[in-house]
Amino acid sequence: MTAVGRWLNLSYRLQRWEVLAAVTGTILLLGVSLWWSRELHTLTDAYPRCRGLAVGAAECEPFYLQFQGIAKWGQLALHASWAAPFGMGLVLGVPLVSREIEHGTAAMAWTLSSSREQWLGTRVAFAVLLLIVLLAGIAAVSELLASALSPAQQLASDFTWYGQRGPLIVARGLAALALGAGVGAVIGRALPGLLLAGFASALLFTAISLGMDRWNGSEAVALPYGVETEPGVLQLGRQVVLSNGDVVGDAYLASLENILIDGDGSVYARFDPATGLPDRSSLVGRYRQLVLPGASYPEIIARESAVAVGSALLLLVGTIGIVRRRRPSP
């Protein structure tokens, strides 16, 4: 057996249960996603004139009803694709170091290896390799399923199903794996480590999401309130242009007492009791909606993926530091 074969074999045996669980889960998800994708494509091909999902057209009514019935299950598979990187990353990452410490085998493993960094590197490399292979499969198939669910849209430049398809799934999985490995190295016990890593990942990914919203918000396009946007844009919230030209966030209006918002987004300070309508002379400003056009989808995905992979690298560096310094006992 070659050195690579020995490494693969040993790594698999050390994490047999987690690897089997991850592979089984992935195969099930891929199978289900491909099945629903095929069903949706078959249905769409049978009604080529209804591709745009024209609900009002009588001839498309049977298509629409059947499509909704299947799409409900397809959407569940896409939700699972969203959750997969977090679940698989943590389950593969947490026991990497913690189990050796918990079982009391870390001292021997670290002594037998030429350095703790090398030991950690070989363990992490296997998990990363496996995770990339599995999540890449999910990412690719979720793209197929998403395009089957939205047959009228060009999803390459469209924010629909954001985070539930494509390469971001792989990047998030790597960040979750690195976080799990780090928390496991700190706690030194697998089960409490998994619990804490779950909480920590909720915090990490919420922080990344909020940070990305702020970053993306700086490049958003402001549209008048009530203007119908084209499908596939990313809604980033609202802002208010005050009567004096200043632009303020949505939170500013929350600080005002009982403002009135008209159907066209005009914001007034008081009513006119005579008409029962807003007093036109009390205009405060006008709402605008902030959106990112669908064309920026590839750039935004690349950006968030880079942030997730960067976080993963930082967390791995932190894990190396912990493993280098910590005692090999719980």
């Binding site: 089960l191 409490p192 008209d262 008409t275 309508l277």
Partner: protein
């Protein structure tokens, strides 16, 4: 006995602190949100009473400050509800699985089982205190969830009915006991913590899905036709609707009513006809809580019995 309880808590100190702390935080947050909802609702009612009504058809809301505040509170409460929904699963698995699995995995089971008078006694001494703590935490989460479900303005009058089924009342605790029993069983069978948590999670999802389907079938069997006048609000879980011809008492399906009455239905229910809903009324809520409690209770007892049987027979 006191020493046994102290030892049981000491063995799972970290998990207990983390989980009970999280549940406590969540319960306090739920009660705080519910209290704030009532405060803002009172302000909104006061505002509606004192502000001139906008013209009919206008998109203007007279009390936007309170509307926005209520919407924000509702959004936050949705997160808390998800947390309460997950409480029995997380607590059940993370407290149930390690009870046996950790001893087997770390090879301390032979010593622990030899030192105890019997394996059954060892299991009960280790399991009951943790199960008690889990039940109390789940009850706290369920009570907080119940208060939260009753707080929004749309629950006034009729109550929440069957809404927020998974986040309310004593069923949260019964579900927690059932999941803990599943965790105990998978831990005792597999003998390794992390794989047992994964297997227990899959089994728990299967249990919840099956229980939901069974309960849904029971509810579908219990529907009653309820005639609803215009403007009348009824609470309950709706399974279908129809239109009653008042003269004959015959209930037409929606399709049959459209065929018979045509466009007249676009302007509401015509005179001589009444809207009928096939629903399980809110007053039956308690019955179905009992049914679900019985289902999960049976699973909990069966799981604990099976675990006892396995622990007394398996090799350590």
């Amino acid at each position: 006995m006191r020493r046994a309880i102290r030892l049981a808590f000491a063995m799972q100190r970290l998990e207990l602190r983390l989980l009970l702390g999280a549940v406590l935080l969540m319960a306090v947050a739920a009660l705080g949100i519910a209290w704030q909802m009532r405060v803002v609702r009172d302000e909104q009612l006061a505002c509606i009473r004192t502000t001139p009504q906008p013209m009919e058809g206008s998109a203007v809301s007279p009390c936007t400050a309170q509307d926005d505040a209520l919407n924000s509170l509702d959004r936050i409460s949705a997160f808390i509800k998800v947390g309460i929904m997950g409480t029995p699963i997380v607590l059940g698995l993370f407290l149930g699985v390690p009870l046996v699995a950790r001893e087997v995995e770390s090879r301390t089971a032979p010593l622990a089982w030899t030192l105890s008078r019997s394996r059954r006694r060892w299991l009960w001494q280790r399991g009951l205190p943790v199960l008690g703590a889990l039940t109390l935490a789940c009850i706290a989460a369920g009570v907080a969830g119940d208060v939260l479900a009753h707080a929004p303005p749309w629950a006034e009058g009729t109550g929440p009915g069957f809404e927020d089924w998974f986040v309310r009342g004593p069923q949260v605790a019964v579900r927690g006991a059932a999941v803990a029993a599943i965790g105990l069983l998978t831990g005792a069978v597999v003998g390794r913590q992390l794989p047992a948590v994964l297997m227990g999670f899959v089994a728990t999802i299967a249990l919840f899905a099956s229980a939901t389907m069974v309960l849904d079938a029971w509810m579908a069997d219990a529907v009653e036709p309820v005639a609803v006048q215009e403007g009348q609000i009824v609470g309950g879980k709706i399974y279908g609707s129809g239109i009653r011809e008042d003269a004959t008492g015959e209930i037409l399906s929606d399709e049959a009513a459209y065929q018979k009455l045509g466009n007249a239905l676009d302007f509401g229910i015509p005179t001589g006809y009444t809207q009928v809903y096939y629903l399980v009324p809110s007053r039956r809520y308690g019955d179905f809580v009992l049914y679900e409690g019985a289902l999960f209770g049976i699973v909990a007892l069966a799981g604990m019995g099976a675990t006892t049987w396995i622990v007394t027979r398996r090799s350590p």
